[in-house]
């Protein structure tokens, strides 16, 4: 009978012991959470003050970063956006550290994976930001050059270049994050190839007259005509 009671009570004792052993971990987690929350707020405030001192918003305006975040429909000041990013990054980090304090094998693995993933996420973010800026820069260069050369479809051309570059950048970022890399590469190849083919067809059809003109212009009699013109072109300088 005594053995039977032991059989009944032992799991309860073990459970109580486990709970008793777990409570300090739980407390540690809560303390880390709360401390992390206040520390994150403090660090955010510190950075906001530093941004104000170094005139970060005005610098972002000049560098064109404000315009970029406006395009993403974000209307806060660049310093507030940066402060927010830092704050939420710290909150997530403290959350993971806090969970780690629970010393549960599953959560330990998850935390380890999270910290291993941070460099990848960071480089993907850098690729996205740098790529977005570069795509905008190249697209604007194409737009201005095409307008100055008298092309009628300058805006479409510039948007096509931007689209191609954004597809390329997204594929690079997803590949960096290792999110279904096989599917990403296949999707990228299909989308990129499709865009190139569509552009080739569009230019092929749209450029028939231009090509005719070029071929005609290189014929000998047209060259002679040009030579015989007595007037000269105006000089710019």
């Amino acid at each position: 009978m005594e053995n039977f009671m032991d059989l009944l009570l032992q799991p309860l004792r073990d459970f109580g012991l486990t709970i008793f052993e777990f409570i300090p971990n739980l407390l540690a987690m809560l303390i880390i959470f709360i401390a992390g929350f206040f520390l994150s707020r403090l660090i955010k405030m510190f950075f906001l003050r530093v941004f104000r001192v170094i005139n970060f918003d005005s610098w972002c305006d000049k560098a064109g970063l404000t315009a970029i975040i406006r395009k993403g429909d974000v209307w806060s000041r660049p310093s507030d956006v940066s402060g927010g990013i830092i704050y939420w990054f710290l909150i997530i980090m403290f959350l993971m550290i806090g969970l780690n304090a629970l010393q549960l094998e599953t959560i330990d693995n998850l935390t380890a994976q999270f910290f291993l993933y941070i460099p990848r996420a960071f480089s993907a973010l850098v690729i996205l930001i740098a790529g977005y800026i570069l795509a905008g820069f190249i697209s604007r260069a194409v737009l201005i050059t095409a307008v100055n050369s008298g092309y009628h479809y300058a805006k479409i051309l510039a948007e096509a270049v931007r689209l191609l570059l954004i597809v390329l950048i997204l594929a690079m970022a997803l590949e960096q994050l290792q999110i279904a890399p096989g599917i990403v590469i296949a999707a990228f190849s299909i989308v990129f190839g499709g865009i190139i083919l569509a552009l080739a067809i569009a230019f092929g059809i749209g450029g028939i007259d231009a090509a005719k003109g070029i071929i005609k212009g290189s014929e000998p009699e047209h060259k002679d005509e040009k030579k015989n013109e007595k007037e000269r072109e105006a000089e710019y300088l």
């Binding site: 000049k62 007037e231 105006a234």
Partner: protein, 402 residues
């Protein structure tokens, strides 16, 4: 190498067809007007593939045939490749180096593609330095009313307004300068910028004026030369010249901020009327690019000019080709807006200046339409009016600069 009194520099790249004539004219000018000076002709070549340096070395002049009876002094000439960014500016840098190394008293540079150069050009470019003590001699040509549109609509009015001196052809191409001036140019660290290319002319003129060197101009008659290399298109030329001009504006703010009005610089040479070749201008094509800019570059122009001036630009964009006019006051605002945008780094300098091209073409088309039936004097009076508009609105630039 021993000291030399005069150095005449000729920058070249594939100019085999014309450089022989230029060397002969320079040689004749030196022999006729400076027979007692030790002179050297230096060809600074950018790696020509058509034997340009060989022609420089072999070009000979029959002095007896030209001067009838005149003592013949040998004039040495060398042809050397320059190093650095390919362009006229890098070629000039090598010439400045020669002038400093040989302790030259006076120098001048002439283009290698000139067809209208005469021996008198050498006298006109060098004498103000040798006989009158000037440090910098700018050229002054008779040009067709539709030639030199970047000079007439941007470079001359802006240089005159900023620095207060009326140098009519600040980017003319031929210049005279003293040894002291060459030494100053050589000591500047600008050879990795647009100064190494087409920016060299405006840089030389502006630095001479802004640094209080003695500046004058000299009338050379008509300038006729080979057509420009088709590879060097308008957009690139405008970028190199205007970018250098804006850079200098940034650099010499303290010199120009309080300057108001302008004064003539001493002008040498006998002014005479020259029959000029007619010039072909396609105003319709220019207006096409202006309107394309209005449609596609609107968001860029809005960042640079703001809604006020852009609204005015949009208004004139709606006019028909025959009625199209780009008011002088509006053009002055546009140029000043671009200068300020460059100063405030609103966007990359290259994009900023290239986006000026359609506006510049709109202004040029307007001038072509207005001046179509004008004589040369009438067209010149229009440019004078534009310059006065620039001068009258200078406060707009100064106020917006801060």
């Amino acid at each position: 190498m021993e000291n030399t009194d005069i150095i005449v520099g000729i920058a070249s790249y594939n100019n085999a067809k014309t450089i022989g004539h230029v060397v002969k004219a320079v040689g004749a000018g030196l022999a006729k007007y400076f027979p007692d000076k030790r002179a050297l002709i230096v060809n600074s070549d950018g790696g020509s593939k058509d034997g340009t340096p060989d022609i420089v070395r072999s070009a000979t002049l029959d002095h007896a045939a030209i001067f009838l009876s005149h003592p013949v002094y040998p004039i040495h000439r060398i042809s050397m490749p320059y190093i650095g960014i390919p362009g006229k500016g890098s070629a000039f840098r090598a010439l400045f180096r020669q002038a400093v190394d040989l302790n030259a008293e006076a120098c001048c540079v002439v283009d290698a593609d000139l067809r209208s150069i005469t021996p008198e050009w050498i006298e006109l470019l060098l004498s103000p330095v040798i006989k009158n003590g000037f440090d910098f001699v700018a050229p002054f040509y008779s040009r067709h009313k539709f030639d030199g549109t970047i000079t007439n609509s941007i470079v001359y009015p802006l240089t005159r307004t900023l620095y207060g001196r009326r140098v009519r052809q600040p980017i003319g191409g031929e210049f005279g300068y003293s040894g002291k001036m060459a030494e100053f140019y050589l000591s500047q660290d600008v050879w990795e910028s647009h100064v190494a290319r087409f920016g060299i002319d405006i840089w030389m003129t502006t630095e001479a004026i802004a640094n209080d060197f003695k500046v004058c101009q000299t009338f050379l008659g008509a300038k006729i030369h080979d057509p420009k290399d088709p590879g060097s298109d308008l957009s690139d030329m405008l970028l190199q010249v205007v970018s250098t001009l804006f850079n200098l504006t940034e650099r010499h703010y303290d010199k120009w901020k309080d300057e108001r009005g302008s004064s003539d610089v001493p002008t040498f040479g006998f002014r005479y009327h020259v029959g000029l070749e007619s010039v072909k201008v396609n105003a319709e094509k220019m207006l096409g690019i202006f309107r394309a800019g209005l449609k596609d570059l609107r968001h860029i122009w809005l960042d640079i000019m703001g809604p006020g001036d852009l609204g005015e630009i949009e208004r004139i964009g709606r006019l028909s080709n025959g009625e199209f006019r780009f008011p002088a006051g509006l053009w002055v605002n546009v140029v000043y807006d671009f200068v300020v945008a460059y100063h405030r780094k609103v966007m990359s300098p290259e994009h900023l200046i290239r986006s000026l091209v359609p506006l510049y073409l709109g202004k040029t088309a307007s001038f072509v339409i207005e001046a179509e039936n004008m004589e040369q004097e009438g067209a010149e009076a229009e440019i004078e009016r534009l310059c006065l508009e620039f001068e009258n609105k200078k406060d707009y630039l100064v106020t917006n600069w801060k």
